[in-house]
Symmetry: C2
Subunit: 727 residues, 2 copies
């Protein structure tokens, strides 16, 4: 189900148990969050494969395609990873000492630094590289703006209420949960193996109450599976019909919930002391950029094309948030609005730089045929053969790919999925999502849509602001045509209350009609105008009130509303996928349980260097301080761990934090000024003078050298790293 | 008036026309924004000088001390500056095409980059330099948290309403405005010169309606002046009395407004689909840090002291925001919470590094004596003589000073003002504001408070969470005392419903009482406990239910709640002051009006380098592209201006944007690969090969070389810069 109601995307000709007569109503905006996760349903393997989109897929449904693994290709133990992330305070439920609030998370120091580094690279990769105009607009947004954009009316999910305990349920999730429980009960009755759905234990317990082994008719099973396969295509009324038809009841109470009603997902508030200025927390950062278009164009000295960009928090009041960082109520977005002339096929002057880059594309034709196999194709080829609509869109797809690669996303876990024709808003030309494979399945992390002129047009229409480009024409354009001239001074007083209506009717005439009227005027000194609703619908207008002339004029300026290509990044989702993609475990030397490692590239690693004095010996202090200072001067972030834990433990802790390099200060250092440098992934070490080590670190962090380079340049150090304490 | 009601700070023994009987009620939190601007009132020059604090002082009141100037010491033309900031899109009213919303501003590209650079330096100066633990907590905050912190009850201003037109007025502003208008009318009647108050023309026009030259009694003038001098000390009831006593009427309607009521300044919303979880947008970033204390301590491997830090948006629903960026409804804060053991005089291990730094201090004794003259004193001296309470607080004051200096704040326009005893919350030990002098007067931009253990204590008490430090004692502590042991198995069943009450009464006994009870038990085999409310208030407890023993125990752990030192930065205010402090104008060569320059230090300048091709000649394109790439590799942000404007115009535009360096590509470049480098402030230029110029820029931006160094190293270029077009 989309965030914008109604939901006009019936994706396959599959005949559902309830007919889906979804009108092709304009969905005013489909942003990156609206179809967050692609889901593949495997209920009816012998039937033609069907597909649907879910807000939150469970692992079970991804069985066919899920290959979420550690960096080393081993199965990912999500529980172990999550426990580690919690222990190392990457993120933590907000307000936990007050019992927490679902869908809200705080980032602890490593999560916060990781996020800041991703943003920093994003800024360099997009804003600086492309001279984009960054803006920082307010989160508080008055009602009128979001009314015009369509969010007030359509940015909603369906919810229903349990009449007994008042529990509020997201309608599509509810239908899904109950039908799945019945199918599960059926499987148990048939003696088939039932896979456990991953969920929090509290919920499972509650649900299992209603779960007795009950066999269903084969036809019913098929019907349920078909409903589930297209659960996201039903609107509220249809979900209500499903609830009635199958007598779906809340396991907690045994009651049928109320008919679904639309629940707007924006947080509402009131701006100022009187309550007459209702406002919302923005659900995306885009609107502020659109509203500033005219000023940004002027700032850019009128030159087109150009892009604005914004990094900031957005808010969506989820009915029942789940899936950790993937579906939250407050989240960081980075959005680009690239404004381009709709004429000239949206060419991009730097497209040649990226055209050979190959992407894994899952186009809409493939999806329509029920396939999920991606094609590896160069973006140049994809634009040439029309798979991707235009160069600018293609350019950004390639740039998104390069960005994800740069920050350390696993290249084998990125694909670009095209939106289906009926999944997009009516005004959009083309839309692709960058999806990353995680243990939650394929997760939409970046959306990239060609939004045509929609946004600027609706705001301009509402406010009268000229959100347009005035382009000086290279060659002035001469236009000859019939023009009407009304003598307003006489016209109004003559026709009195009907004046406006008659004037509008005259102005609405076509060139052909005007030619005819001109002849009539020439001949009779008056014309008869058709004005429905005034008198008998025919109005006589004399030549002293109206002139119709064949006029020539020269236009030097062309006015147009730019089109918008919008790459939109969900930073929290990218961050989570990045963690999964860089996680692996290695056996500890002590032989106890495997230890986690996060192999972040140095550029995004929360801390670049750990400085470890061998012991708490005071002689080490000045050396440690000097090293910190040298690293700071080199622009490299470091932390000192002078705790009493063994060196091995301290390094192990930092492997979990993803710190790529470690410097040990020992008694040898006090003698000859050498320190050791340890590389996180190999745990190999070199030893050299402080300044050589600092220079090596700088080169490693800036990416100008690899660890192999360093090993070939500096002497290897073979001392053991684990459990060295004081000699 | 403070943000926390009631307002317990009557600052002088001045006998006001309405007695101020303000109880010393606990103001639970006075944050940096609460007393934003120090105001000096000059109404009664012959009377002893009085003072008061205002949210928004007008220029007029600063007459005595205002020396807001340009960087070159000339009078600051605020209108010209504001027009330039608007033209260059540093910031702009949000939603302007929809008519705007007061108190909300968007940052355009230069403002956004300036803000990002300030934040970047802040992060390096504080977080990285001091190994602080940065966290990113949510803005959405549930009701309970802000109830405990005191914001729900006390974070408010007084407002009243016009009964006729419904206009909502901030009560203190209203009283101030009307009395000032009367004093002005009186002055006019006396034929004295009236200074214009700077305000928006609309308002002035409205107000001038009521302004006829009316002479007042001398006694009345004195009374009004006394009221105005302490306008911030009145609570709502007292403001209401003033309105009645002086028959103050809204000039727009001629009506007396309703009695003032408290208006909570937090934006309220509702979290989740049911309305049973009310929440607010946080008014400060501090609470999230306090709530995560236990996890942060663990992350820091239990070591004290440590600091957390947070950079993020906060929200305050101002009744009637004015003063541009200085009082807004959505703003960026950077806050540090430094947690320190209250024992040991809050020493700081790096205090010696800063103790010689001299600050301009305005301590509370000076203020009490009616003076405003600051003392220049080293922070070491200030802590030694007790002016500043402790080393940790002093350390941060010095670090704040260094930070402000680093980003380019004028050193002659910083002072540190101590809060008066009754201006602080009851639990605070000491509090200093870094105030910056602007055309709005002295503006509080950073607060630095010692908040004692208040915040952690209230949250711990409310939630039961152990927001404490458990410190292993170097020397175990032996304690001998009377302990009571209740046999719970028998005690409960014996006393039934009264059990809990009786148990509490036993546990509440003092050591002395226990000694007495032990003797009694020894003698009688039972004791009589006073338990008010149970039976006749005397309860007999026998020795099989209760034992009272003299016990010895050894404690290895000390538990304590840390104290918090909180430096809190208003980034928008600092940004605005930074702009004013770096603004100046220079005569243009053409002789037309003076042109603005913003002499930002390279480190904060929105863009470091402007690349200017002499003309649109295509041969320049590859050179320009290469230079951009070289600068990017050197980590220096640049922009290309290849518009058709003259070189002089292009540089002039960038002087207004504060771009410190310019590189010109001309026909000579195509011959010998040399380019010119221009310095913004002197407009002098050198010429050399591309790589030498890039290296020079890198050194200038990193601050390792000055422009003088560069001039001594590279040949000066004497070509004129203005109005060179194509040769």
């Amino acid at each position: 189900m989309k965030r914008f109601l109604p939901t006009p995307h019936l994706l396959s000709p599959l005949a559902g148990p309830i007919a889906l007569n979804l009108p092709k109503v304009a969905a005013p905006r489909v942003s990156w969050f609206s179809v967050p996760v692609r889901r593949f349903t495997a209920f009816a393997p012998s039937a033609p494969r069907t597909y649907a989109y879910a807000k939150f897929p469970t692992k079970k449904k991804y069985k066919m395609t899920t290959t979420a693994t550690t960096l080393k290709g081993e199965p990912l133990d999500k529980a172990a990873l999550e426990s580690m992330l919690r222990r190392r305070m990457f993120y933590t439920p907000s307000f936990e000492v007050y019992g927490g609030v679902s869908g809200l998370y705080d980032y602890g120091p490593p999560g916060c630094a990781l996020q800041a580094n991703i943003i920093d690279l994003w800024r360099k990769h997009f804003i600086l590289e492309e001279d984009m105009l960054e803006v920082d607009c307010t989160v508080l947004t008055p009602h009128d703006v979001l009314k015009t954009s369509g969010h007030v009316d359509k940015f909603a999910d369906w919810m229903c209420k349990d009449p007994k305990n008042g529990e509020i349920l997201r309608a599509d999730h509810f239908v899904e949960d109950v039908l799945e429980a019945r199918l599960k009960a059926d499987k148990e009755a048939r003696g088939q193996k039932v896979e456990e759905k991953e969920e929090d234990p509290k919920k499972k317990k509650k649900k299992s109450k209603g779960l007795e082994a009950v066999k269903l008719d084969d036809a019913v099973v098929k019907e349920y599976e078909e409903v589930l396969a297209q659960i996201d295509n039903y609107n509220g009324e249809q979900l209500g019909e499903l609830i009635k038809k199958y007598d779906l009841r809340n396991p907690a109470t045994g009651e049928q919930p109320s008919p679904p009603v639309a629940f707007n997902l924006m947080f509402q508030t009131s701006i100022g002391p009187s309550s007459n200025l209702p406002g919302y927390l923005r659900p995306e950062t885009a609107q502020g950029q659109f509203l500033n278009f005219a000023k940004l164009l002027e700032f850019n000295t009128g030159q087109m094309p150009f892009a604005s960009a914004s990094i900031g928090k957005s808010y969506r009041n989820e009915i029942s948030p789940r899936a950790g960082l993937l579906r939250v109520r407050e989240f960081l977005m980075a959005e680009i609005e690239h404004f381009v002339d709709p004429e000239g096929h949206k060419k991009h002057h730097r497209f040649h730089e990226v055209e050979d880059i190959e992407l894994e594309l899952l186009d809409r034709h493939t999806q329509l045929s029920g396939q999920t196999k991606t094609k590896r194709v160069s973006i140049g080829q994809a634009v040439r053969d029309g798979t991707v609509d235009n160069e600018t869109l293609g350019y950004f797809l390639a740039r998104i790919h390069l960005f994800l690669k740069k920050i350390g996303i696993d290249q084998t876990k990125i694909r670009f999925r095209q939106h289906m024709a009926n999944e997009m808003a009516h005004y959009a030309c083309d839309c692709w999502d960058a999806e990353l494979l995680t243990s939650y399945g394929w997760v939409e992390c970046v959306g990239c849509a060609d939004r045509s002129a929609y946004d600027l047009s609706v705001h301009a229409k509402k406010t009268g602001a000229p959100l347009i480009v005035r382009q000086r024409l290279d060659e002035p354009k001469t236009i000859e045509e019939w023009e009407v001239e009304i003598d307003k001074k006489k016209f109004g007083p003559f026709f009195k209350k009907d004046g406006k209506t008659i004037e509008a009717a005259i102005l609405a005439t076509t060139q052909e009609e005007r030619g005819q009227l001109a002849k009539e005027m020439e001949a009779n000194g008056k014309v008869i105008i058709n004005v429905p609703g005034v008198g008998d619908g025919k109005v006589e207008v004399s030549k002293d009130l109206l002139a119709i002339k064949w006029q020539k004029r020269v236009e030097y300026i062309r006015e147009y509303t730019p089109n918008v290509i919008e790459p939109s990044f969900g930073i929290g989702r990218i961050l989570y996928a990045l963690i999964e993609h860089n996680y692996w475990t290695r056996a500890s030397e002590g032989g106890d349980e495997a230890r986690g490692v996060l192999s972040f590239p140095p550029a995004v690693a929360p801390t670049k260097v750990l400085i470890v004095p061998l012991s708490s010996n005071k002689d080490f202090t000045p050396v440690v301080r000097k090293l910190s200072q040298m690293l700071r001067s080199a622009g490299v972030s470091s932390r000192v761990d002078d705790s009493s834990a063994s060196i091995g433990k301290r390094y192990s802790r930092n492997d979990e934090l993803g710190t790529p390099f470690g410097v040990t200060v020992d008694f040898q250092t006090l003698k000859d000024g050498t320190v050791t440098l340890r590389e996180r992934d190999s745990t190999r070490q070199v030893r050299a003078e402080e300044d050589k080590i600092i220079e090596a670190i700088r080169a490693l962090v800036e990416g100008t050298k690899t660890w192999q380079d360093i090993e070939s340049e500096l002497p290897l150090f073979e001392g053991q790293e684990v459990d060295i304490t004081v000699r």
